[in-house]
Amino acid sequence: MSMQTLKEKKPESHNETSIRISGAEAIIHCLLAEDVNLIYGYPGGAIMPVYDELYKFQDKLQHVLTRHEQGATHAAQGFARVTGKVGVAIATSGPGATNLVTGLADAQIDSTPMICITGQVPRHLLGSDAFQETDIIGISTPVTKWNYQITKAAEIPEIMAKAFYIAKSGRPGPVLIDITKNAQFEEFDFSYSRCIGVRSYKPNPKPDTAKIESAAELINNAKRPYIVYGHGVILGKAENQLRTLVEKAGIPAAWTILGLSAMDTDHPLNVGMVGMHGNYGPNVLTNECDVLIAIGMRFDDRVTGNLDTYAKQAKVIHFEIDPAEIDKNVKADIAVLGNAQESLDLLLPLIKENKHEAWHNKFKKCYEEEYNAVIKDDLYPTKEGLTMGEVIEEINLASENKAVIVTDVGQHQMIACRYAKFKQTKSNITSGGLGTMGFALPAAIGAKMGAMDREVVAVIGDGGYQMTIQELATIFQNKTPVKIVVLNNGHLGMVRQWQELFFESRYASTVMTNPDFVKIAEGYRIEAKRVKERKDLKPTIQEMMASKEPFFLEVCVENEDNVFPMIPSGASVSDIRLK
């Protein structure tokens, strides 16, 4: 009987020549065959045979030693998000494997292609509570797109090929492959062919042309059409199609946090961010549009607020690759299943040129209102204390909107996603769905290694920074020239904001007594500066951006600033508060 676990089609150019090698070496050959030349990880007992091969293959396959396995996953995610390729992280069994879980969950909810390889105790010890044994298949099942335990070397090529195919196809996601130590040692006849299809898995539904036609008709007849675009535009490489649609039909478009950078932020029809801390117009006008065109987004609760009062007046067109997202949160009048690029390519020829100036003016008017109430004071403050917004604005200016911005989670993240400017896609790297504090520093390492020709700026709060601060050692050891900006307000700012607004200012465990961050960075031999006054901000950010080395900058910002606008939890998008 075939040992195939998933029935697949063999590619025509199947390479039948084989070499006799160990399972551990086979893993390296599989990675090389999938064009992987950079992985992140942390060694340990059950994965040592693979590390021994990594040592031998170091000229072909670079291994970056992070200082914690969680850092390896976020670095792999940062690499994947900036390149569009599969990120790879590797760890040992037991605690090494369990430390991957947060990164897997993050990659799962944010549709990031990643493969985690874990060592496992030898097959004969499975289930015996052996040293560093943990059921990582059981543990990782809810947070992986697919996972598999290899117990025989001969399974390695087939499973690795499927892992890559599954991680990157359709709606991408994380795959975990657990390999028992005996399978790493065993020798077998190795040959490799890429996976081109699995019979139980249909990653690319073909867009239904009848639905595309209905969608085009709705859009062409719409008086107040409105586009909300998400990560699916970037994953589906549909950035050009999105811009063409926006321009041809004259439709205002807003981004979700993960859709940001799919379209030039300075484009006149790119009207801002939706969601809890999004822009005023994009939120309130959701409830005034007549056709809501959702592209590659999943109506997360942080986007919709109260579903009972979300876009009830609008016809909803949902372009989405994952059938499980259709009608999950918002009922679509027309749901077009498929890759965003393919769907929009079919749609565009049917779209009539149009302008919706009066409708677009409503967004502009809302922007003015928001500018006067919020944005002006965020970006050009007149008070003494520094704001997070002005720091982002200085980064925009110093980088000419060309940097990759990697953010963590909290107030600084919302501010960055509101005010950071982008000219290029795949430039906003953040933990959206899971909201993983500690994401940014390691993700910035991966992003920089994936885009060495670009500036990568990690913007992090003082809370999240300390969750993965040990990755400064990875930056130092690899001389990775990332720019690290910690916006220090001495608090877990977003939780403090909620405590102020909804828990009568009872600041339970949100006040942080912080160490000297500059000294810590210097301890890792990273050039470090601290800015406390406005006059020093611009020159120091310019100095940081001009540096060719890793650079740490702490900006001491106002301690108790709040992020506005805000849709209180459970409220309607119409009830967004400007103060």
């Binding site: 676990t5 029935k7 059981g138 809810p142 335990q149 599954i166 139980s200 898995y201 499980a324 009608d327």
Partner: protein
């Protein structure tokens, strides 16, 4: 929306760990699985999971979509009781002396249309196949006399409408 009984039929590759992956989808939504059966299906090397839940149709539809999304799942369907033919099986282990001491037992056996599977000096075993309420009724009738052991299987179901798995599989190999 009204809660109802739904039977979910999942056709999937026969892989280690898939049951865990599928049951996790119910766990995530805090839904209790009322009955579960895993068996081979009409197609070689394809397994069939038959899962019964009591919830709204909206949730059932969303759960089925999330099950279908799992890599090893070929296709999943859901049906109401009216749309299926379904049965459960039960075994009752009862002390043999009751056959002689309690004449009513023999009536219960014949009325329930159950079968005696085995008889020994100490006990005999009754097998009953039918709807849940029939098995429950038989259980209630036997209980006053003492049941040594009782077990009931998960629901097994065939749908009145077609579940075109073979077509789907053929499409894959032809595409």
């Amino acid at each position: 929306m009204e809660k109802k009984w739904f039977t979910i039929s999942v056709y999937a590759e026969n892989n280690v760990g898939l049951l865990n992956r599928i049951s996790g989808i119910f766990l995530k939504r805090h839904i209790n699985i009322e009955s579960l059966n895993v068996s081979k299906s009409e197609i070689e090397q394809v397994s069939k999971f038959t899962i019964v839940i009591n919830t709204t149709e909206d949730w059932t539809r969303k759960i089925v979509a999330q099950i279908e999304k799992q890599i090893e799942v070929i296709k999943a369907f859901y049906h109401t009781d009216e749309e299926t033919i379904y049965q459960e099986s039960a075994l009752f282990k009862i002390a043999s002396h009751l056959l002689f001491d309690e004449p009513q037992i023999q009536n219960i056996i014949s009325e329930s249309k159950s079968k005696i599977v085995t008889v020994s000096r100490e006990y005999f075993v009754l097998a009953k196949t039918g709807r849940r309420h029939e098995i429950d009724e038989m259980h209630d009738n036997l209980e006053p006399y003492g049941i040594m052991q009782f077990v009931r299987s998960g629901r097994i179901t065939v749908s009145k409408a077609e579940m075109p798995i073979t077509t789907l599989i053929n499409e894959f190999y032809q595409s």
